[in-house]
Each structure stands twice: as structure tokens, then as C-alpha cells.
Subunit: 177 residues, 2 copies
């Protein structure tokens, strides 16, 4: 029903079904993974009114899985690209994989897909930094992506400017010293 | 042999084979596409010493295809994510699809995969802005991606700073006027 693709690697289409409505893909060597694509194979749609919440889990320092909600796939949006490179130190969130006895290997991360009611999905909030499209539409709108250039957060410039302005008001020649 | 996935849509696995070593996927409604994933299905590897160059083409104002090299897939790197949202107004480059009589519909873009010698691929330069991983590793290294914040190109800050410094040197009180 689902496919999972780590950018640069071979596609996986054989999910481990850990419950009637839960599917898991192993992601070996997860430290080197930047992007994961999760998609429906197109063979079996979700039942009417259902969709899938997509979770990423990585082992914490004790080897315990930390689950984070990446986003969703539905019949209307049957694929999504997620950026997980920034998530390997984040905190876990509520997830439906707690009670499962999932076979896991140390240093292997996992993608979990939980089939749920669309109404239930609508109440879940994915971790902000995982959505590739929103990050990208931002960088497009706000700056021209250019790997050879450095960018600075505008709030740093504003903070520096306000500080500079304050010192200049106190002593117009402070910058000469 | 290949799969193609537009982020948010159903996966495509039935490429149109337009020559022995050339494969094409149609991308309808291409104006709304941000990311495309191109991957090997894992059924048939490239012949020894061969790989695939991946091109994107969109129709220019006259309906003529403009081809741009996105990057490569190989047996060692059998999948790649490309960002095409910034490419729909760029210039075309050298490409191997010129002589083909490819059936195309207006307002449909295409992904073309050309199977070539790895030595030949090594001499081709993809358009810079298509590589998702290089852009992302940059944004990660240089700034924390954060959709709620604005970012400024550092060269703009430097230019403003140099100008400010010059005016301040000419007249230490110019900023008061």
C-alpha cells in the first residue's frame, strides 16, 4: 500500500505491518539521511474518510525510539517529501506506536504510518521543520536560494541595528574608538 | 526501470520509452509542481559503467520544449529529489532529446531520462538550483530553517554596512539628519 524512499537510495515498498492499521519501514544508517519520501503505491486507496499520519522515529541515547509526527498522506495527497535531517535530536511527541512490539535494530530509524480518520489527522500538528514544501516556498518567497551565498536571520540584523542605534545616540563617535 | 513522483501526487512508474536509451514522464499541470523525485524501481539496474541523466522540460511561450539538466541517477545513487519550482523560466541547455518526436501536450512538462556512460555524465553540469540536498545542506549549515522568520543575504548587509561606514566617516552626524 505504501512506498518509502530515502533520497539517494533504493525505494522500499515492503512495509512491515505491525498492526491492522500500522505500517513501518526501517531506515538503516539514518544519521546520513536528509530527506524521506512517503507515498501510496496507488494499488489500494485509503478507506473513505481515512488517511495516514506519517511518523519518524530514531533511537535516543538509551536506544529507545523517539517518535515525531512528520505529516500526512491521503487519497487526495498521496505523497509527501519530509526533511528529517534536523529532527534527530528533537523531542518526541504523542504517537500511536507505543504499544507495539516492533522489531528494531539499534542505529536503525523508522518511518511509521498510522491509518486514522481524517478528522483525527486534522487535530494533529506535525513538527514544523519537516515540511519540505513550506520551508521551500518560504526560502523562495523571501530570498533567492543560492548555495554560494551566506544568509543572515533578519532579527539578528534588527537586534544589531537597534544596539548600534542606541550606542550611537549615547555617543556619536563610539564607532571611532 | 524508473519511477517518477511529483510531491503530493501519485507515483508514476510507466515511462514512455522514446528511444532505446531515453525515457520520458509527463508532468501535467506543471506550474504547481515544486519537487520531483526520480528513482530506479530496483528491478533492472543500469548496465555496467552506465547511468542516467535526468532532464526537465517545460514548454516556452511558443510551446517549444526547454530542456534543463537536473542531475543524475546511478546504480550507486538510485534516487534523487529535484526542485523544479525555480526552473520554469530558466534557459535551456544542451540535451539529448532534440531529435526525438515526443508526443507532448501543451501545458505539460516532462522529465526525460537519458541512459549514458558514467564518463559522459561526469562532464555534464546540472542547473545549480535543482539539487535539493546541496541547497538544504547549505541552509542547514548557514541558518536554522524557520518559516516564520525572514532572512537577508549577507552581501546586502555588507553593502549597506560599507555604505553606512563611508557616510559616517564623511559626516559623523549624517544619521541624525
Amino acid at each position: 500500500m505504501f512506498g518509502c524512499l530515502v533520497a539517494g537510495r533504493l525505494v522500499q515498498t515492503a512495509a512491515q505491518q505491525v498492526a491492522e492499521d500500522k505500517f513501518v519501514f526501517d531506515l538503516p544508517d539514518y544519521e546520513s539521511i536528509n530527506h524521506v519520501v512517503v507515498f501510496m503505491l496507488g494499488t489500494i486507496p485509503f478507506p473513505e474518510g481515512m488517511g495516514g499520519s506519517v511518523y519518524f522515529s530514531y533511537p535516543d541515547s538509551n536506544g529507545m525510539p523517539v517518535w515525531q509526527l512528520l505529516g500526512f498522506v491521503t487519497n487526495g495527497k498521496p505523497s509527501a517529501i519530509f526533511k528529517i535531517s534536523g529532527l534527530k535530536s528533537g523531542e518526541g511527541s504523542q504517537h500511536p506506536f507505543g504499544a507495539m512490539n516492533i522489531v528494531r535494530t539499534p542505529s536503525v530509524a523508522q518511518i511509521g504510518i498510522s491509518v486514522e480518520l481524517l478528522d483525527s489527522l486534522a487535530q494533529q500538528t506535525p513538527v514544523g521543520s519537516a515540511a519540505v514544501s513550506s520551508v521551500d516556498s518560504f526560502t523562495q518567497a523571501q530570498m533567492t536560494p543560492s548555495p554560494s551565498e551566506m544568509f543572515i536571520a533578519s532579527k539578528c540584523v534588527v537586534a544589531w541595528y537597534e544596539n548600534f542605534q542606541r550606542r550611537l545616540a549615547q555617543n556619536p563617535l563610539f564607532w571611532k574608538t
